[in-house]
Every structure is written in structure tokens, then in C-alpha cells.
């Protein structure tokens, strides 16, 4: 009787497969904390919100503030700039200006080129990225490649007339 059980090949193969699967699942589960440890830590996550006082930015002026370690451009647009931004919808990634601002006077965009992550410079109307030559208009929309997308608008809200919080809409 015992001999028959020991000689049962199917039973043996099943047990080998089962052991391999359980062992493999164990190894995979052990990998989780190692992989997760490389994700942003709590102190990095705590940088998620930034409050900015925008009262001292003159019309036509721009301030750069750090949010999550990334530069955020806050542009106080003049009526001419608002008008110019409203005339077109952008070229490669069409989007109306009205959808990119909460208050047409204030443009808030992440100052990171959507191509390779360089910081564009304010030059003439809009921005120019010197890494690979992308250009953006005064609504942060790409007007010349290689950037595939418009400058990202971060989640933000006006907490007072002259104060915004970036990080939470």
C-alpha cells in the first residue's frame, strides 16, 4: 500500500509543482518591501503641498516656486497676454486657454519640459527649453516640438485672493 503511494508519479509531480508555486509566491512577497522601499518616503510625500503668497508679483512678472522639488511657474498675465493666449488653442496638444487657468490673470504651470524634464527659460512671449529647443506660449502650451505635451497644470486652488495652495485642487 505504502509502496503504491510512493510510486505515484502524478502525486509526486503535483507536490513538486505546488511546492514551487508556494515557494515562488513567498519569494515574490518578500520582494515587495524591497521594491516599495524605493518609492518616495513619508518625508518626501510631506512636501506634497506648498502655499504661495502671490500679492507681490507685478503684472507681466513671473515667480518660480518649488513644489515637490519641482519648479512651478506663476505668471501674472497682462490683459494683452490673456488676449494673445485666447486667440489660439495651441499646436501639438490643442487645449483652450480657459481650461488651463482658474483665474485668467494667473497662469500656474509646472516648469518642467514634457520632453526630457529640463526647466524652460522665460524668453519673449512664453518659454524656450534650451535642452532640445521646445517652445511654449504664455498659456504654457507647446508651440514647437520636440515636447509632446503642454506644460502640466498642477492641482491648485485660491485659498485667499492673493494666496494659492499648490498640490490640492
Amino acid at each position: 500500500m505504502e509502496k503504491e503511494i510512493l510510486g505515484d508519479g502524478d502525486r509526486r509531480n503535483f507536490l513538486i509543482k505546488l511546492t514551487s508555486v508556494v515557494g515562488g509566491a513567498g519569494v515574490a512577497a518578500t520582494c515587495v518591501p524591497f521594491v516599495a522601499s524605493m518609492n518616495p518616503s513619508s518625508d518626501v510625500l510631506a512636501k506634497a503641498e506648498t502655499e504661495v503668497d502671490i500679492s507681490n508679483i507685478p503684472p507681466g512678472g513671473m515667480h518660480t516656486v518649488a513644489w515637490q522639488g519641482k519648479p512651478v511657474f506663476i505668471l501674472h498675465r497682462t490683459p494683452e497676454q490673456i488676449k494673445a493666449a485666447g486667440t489660439s488653442n495651441g499646436v501639438s496638444d490643442p487645449e483652450p486657454d480657459s481650461q488651463r487657468v482658474k483665474n485668467p490673470e494667473w497662469l500656474v504651470v509646472i516648469g518642467v519640459c514634457t520632453h526630457m524634464g529640463c526647466v524652460p527659460n522665460k524668453e519673449g512671449p512664453g518659454w524656450v527649453c534650451h535642452c532640445h529647443g521646445s517652445q511654449f506660449d504664455d498659456s504654457g502650451r507647446v508651440t514647437r516640438g520636440p515636447a509632446p505635451k503642454n506644460l502640466e497644470v498642477p492641482p491648485y486652488r485660491f485659498v485667499a485672493e492673493n494666496k494659492i495652495t499648490i498640490g490640492k485642487a
Binding site: G117, H130, H132, P148
Partner: protein
């Protein structure tokens, strides 16, 4: 006394036979030229980088508030710190120079062909490890170029389907390249050389199985092999002397020529330098990245451009031995490819204008085109060469090799027959 010690060891560990088989008595083709020095040189530079790197790590601090200053501390205050640092930074360039020549020799003489495909592929793996190590090491001084180089390259992983953004954040451990990134790059920059040493061991086991190729491109008969020592130890050490002269000129007289001036400015996440360039050894691949207008396409093209070499054993269909030496069209193609690499390097170095973009795009097409044309050209060339008649030298070599194979087969046959005899009798 020493004899008795070796004897004691040999009974427990195959020391003498290992040294004899794999080092001193290792059979090496007698016709190897100086182009065969570069494998040894690469091993030497690896040791140099590990040695200088470990001593630098004793003074370096992997923290964004301290790292830039700690490099200045090494340069000014640490005894001979300047020397260690310049040896290490120059060594990185020397490593790539030696490896590129090593690869060019393999391509020229067709050393990647059967039976050396696995040897070539382990070498391709080593190239990837070397690139990753160099890239991570470049972040450590925490200068402007370090920071923006790492930003651009980690950004490439945004091209990962579906989870691109998460992958980039995971790689950096932050939303931008930051303290977490610097610390992990330091940890991995310390780890990877040891992976490289492991991969070199695999590379050498493969080499010692198939043995070195040689300029004739024909597997030589045993009689044409000579022991590695003293013939090639002497030849390798002479080459090492020449290498060390060139290396020392850079280390002592122009160490800054290989360091971008912008890297003497501490990293500033709010300001990108007007012109960012990678290290010279990444320029051709960087040019390919920039030449493709589509971002994902550019990343894929750049990855492929590094991996194209691995396909060579499949692409080269010619049965004419000796690589470019006996193949005039392949030789021409080889030199055009080198020229194309130089053009790409130039395009990768200069700021992008519409003119250099165009040159880059043409050079990128030529780069991939030269790989895709290899199967067709090599076949046509083979037909042409056979019709024209092979050179006398190669015919003699092929005949001698054929005779040797026959002899070996005969020997094997006799040995097998000998083994089978007792069975017959019983």
C-alpha cells in the same frame, strides 16, 4: 619548501593545473596583433576603477547637502585625493575608450561569429553594466551636469507603457532627482562593479572554452597556438605601458578636459544649464535619442542602437573567414560605420539647430541602415569573392585547418573504436 607547499595545496585544490591550463600554458594563437590587447586593458582599468573608487568612498558623502562639498574636500584636503579623483574620472573615459576599441576589433575581424556568439553576448551585457555604472557615478559629484543628466535619463523611463510616471518616481524615490536618488545611485554605483567582475568571470569562461579568435579569422590548428606566458604576458604588458602613458597624460596634464565646466556649479533643480551634454562616450547614442522627433520612438531607438551589436552573429551571413581583413566591402562598411559614429558624436555634442537635427537624422538612418544591410551585402560579397577567387593566404590556411579537422576526426574514431572493443569481446 615551496615545492612541498604547492604539493600540499595541489592535493586539496587544483592550483598548479589551473595556472598551467588557464594562465601560463593557455594556448593562444601566435598571430595575435596588438588589437588583441584591449581585453586585458579593460580588465586592468576595471581593477583601477574599483581600487580608486573604494578609496574615494572613504571620503565621499552621499547627501545632497554634503556631496558637492565632499568632492571639493577630496580635491583639496585629502592626501592625494586629487590624484584618486582624477584617476577615477579619467578612468571612466579610459574604460569606454578601451571597450570601444575592443568592440571595434571584434566587429572588424568578425570575432563575434560562431562559435563565439555567447562570448560576444556576455560582452554586450558587460557594456550595459558599464554604461549603467558610469551613468550612476556621474550623479555623485552633484554638479549641474550630474543633476540634469540624471534628470533627463531617468525621465526616459516615462516611455514605459502604462506605468511610466510611477516608474520614474520609483527610480528616483522622489518627484525629482533628490537625496533619495543620490543615495541609491551611490549604493548601486558601489554594487555594480562587483556584478561586472562576476560577468567578466563568465566572459572569461566563455573565452577559455572557445579560445581567442585571430586576425586570419580561421580557427587555427593546435600547432599554431603558443603558450600565453611568456609570449602574451610580454605583449600585454608592453601594451599596458603605452596605455599608461596616454592615461597619465590625461590624469596629470589635462584632467579637466574630460569634465564639463558646468559640473563645477552645484546642482540647482530650479535652473537648467543652457546646453546640457552627456559624457563623450554617450554622445552618439544621445544624438540618436534627439534625432527621433517622437519621444517614445527616440527612447526605443536609443535602446536599440546600443543593442544592435548583439544581432551581429545573425546579421553577418558571409562564410568568408577573417572578418574585414579578407572582405573589402565589409571593410569599407566598417570604416563608414566608424565615420557615422563620429558624426553622431558631433551632433550629440552641439546644441540642436535645424541643420544639425537633419544631419543627426541622416546619420541615425545610416547607423541602423548599416546593420540592416549587413545580411544582404555579406551574401553578395561572398558570391563575388568566390567568383573572383580567394587570396592565396586564406586558401592555405583553410586547407591546413581542413586537414587538421580530418586528423582530429580520425583520432576520435580510433579512440571510440578502442572503447567499443571490450564490449565486442564480452
Amino acid at each position: 619548501m615551496s615545492n612541498r607547499i604547492t604539493e600540499w595545496i595541489d592535493q586539496r585544490f587544483p592550483l598548479t593545473s589551473f595556472v598551467k591550463h588557464e594562465l601560463t600554458g593557455y594556448p593562444t594563437p601566435r598571430n595575435l596583433s596588438y588589437w588583441w590587447n584591449f581585453g586585458f586593458l579593460a580588465g586592468f582599468v576595471l581593477v583601477l576603477q574599483v581600487a580608486t573608487g573604494i578609496f574615494l568612498a572613504m571620503h565621499y558623502k552621499a547627501d545632497i547637502a554634503l556631496s558637492f562639498d565632499s568632492v571639493q574636500h577630496i580635491m583639496r584636503d585629502v592626501n592625494y585625493g586629487w590624484l584618486l579623483r582624477y584617476m577615477h574620472s579619467t578612468g571612466a573615459s579610459a574604460f569606454f575608450l578601451v571597450i570601444f576599441i575592443h568592440m571595434a576589433r571584434t566587429l572588424y575581424y568578425g570575432s563575434f561569429r560562431a562559435p563565439r556568439e555567447l562570448l560576444w553576448w556576455t560582452g554586450q551585457g558587460l557594456l550595459l553594466l558599464l554604461m549603467a555604472t558610469a551613468f550612476m557615478g556621474y550623479l555623485l559629484p552633484w554638479g549641474q551636469m550630474s543633476f540634469w543628466g540624471a534628470t533627463v535619463i531617468t525621465n526616459l523611463f516615462r516611455a514605459t507603457p502604462f506605468i511610466g510616471d510611477q516608474v520614474v518616481v520609483w527610480l528616483r524615490g522622489d518627484y525629482t532627482v533628490g537625496d533619495a536618488t543620490l543615495t541609491r545611485f551611490f549604493a548601486l554605483h558601489y554594487l555594480f562593479p562587483f556584478l561586472i567582475i562576476g560577468a567578466v568571470a563568465v566572459h572569461l569562461v566563455a573565452l577559455h572554452t572557445v579560445k581567442s579568435s585571430n586576425p586570419s579569422g580561421i580557427n587555427l590548428a593546435d600547432k599554431d597556438n603558443i603558450p600565453f606566458h611568456p609570449y602574451f604576458t610580454a605583449k600585454d604588458f608592453f601594451g599596458l605601458g603605452v596605455f599608461l602613458i596616454v592615461y597619465s597624460v590625461f590624469v596629470f596634464f589635462m584632467p579637466d578636459s574630460l569634465i564639463e565646466p558646468a559640473n563645477n556649479i552645484p546642482a540647482n533643480p530650479m535652473q537648467t544649464p543652457n546646453h546640457i551634454v552627456p559624457e563623450w562616450y554617450f554622445l552618439p547614442f544621445y544624438a540618436i535619442l534627439r534625432s527621433v522627433p517622437n519621444m517614445v520612438g527616440g527612447v526605443v531607438a536609443m535602446g536599440l542602437s546600443v543593442m544592435m551589436f548583439a544581432f551581429m552573429p545573425f546579421l553577418d551571413r558571409s562564410r568568408i573567414s577573417g572578418g574585414a581583413h579578407f572582405r573589402p566591402i565589409y571593410r569599407l562598411q566598417f570604416y563608414l560605420f566608424l565615420l557615422d559614429m563620429l558624426v553622431l558624436g558631433y551632433v550629440g555634442y552641439v546644441p540642436p539647430t535645424s541643420q544639425t537635427m537633419l544631419i543627426g537624422q541622416i546619420a541615425t538612418l545610416c547607423y541602423f541602415g548599416s546593420f540592416f544591410l549587413v545580411p544582404f551585402i555579406s551574401r553578395a560579397e561572398e558570391r563575388w569573392l568566390i567568383r573572383r577567387g580567394l587570396p592565396q593566404g586564406i586558401i592555405t590556411l583553410m586547407e591546413s585547418e581542413a586537414r587538421d579537422i580530418e586528423k582530429r576526426k580520425l583520432k576520435q574514431h580510433l579512440r571510440k573504436g578502442g572503447k567499443h572493443e571490450p564490449k565486442f569481446l564480452s
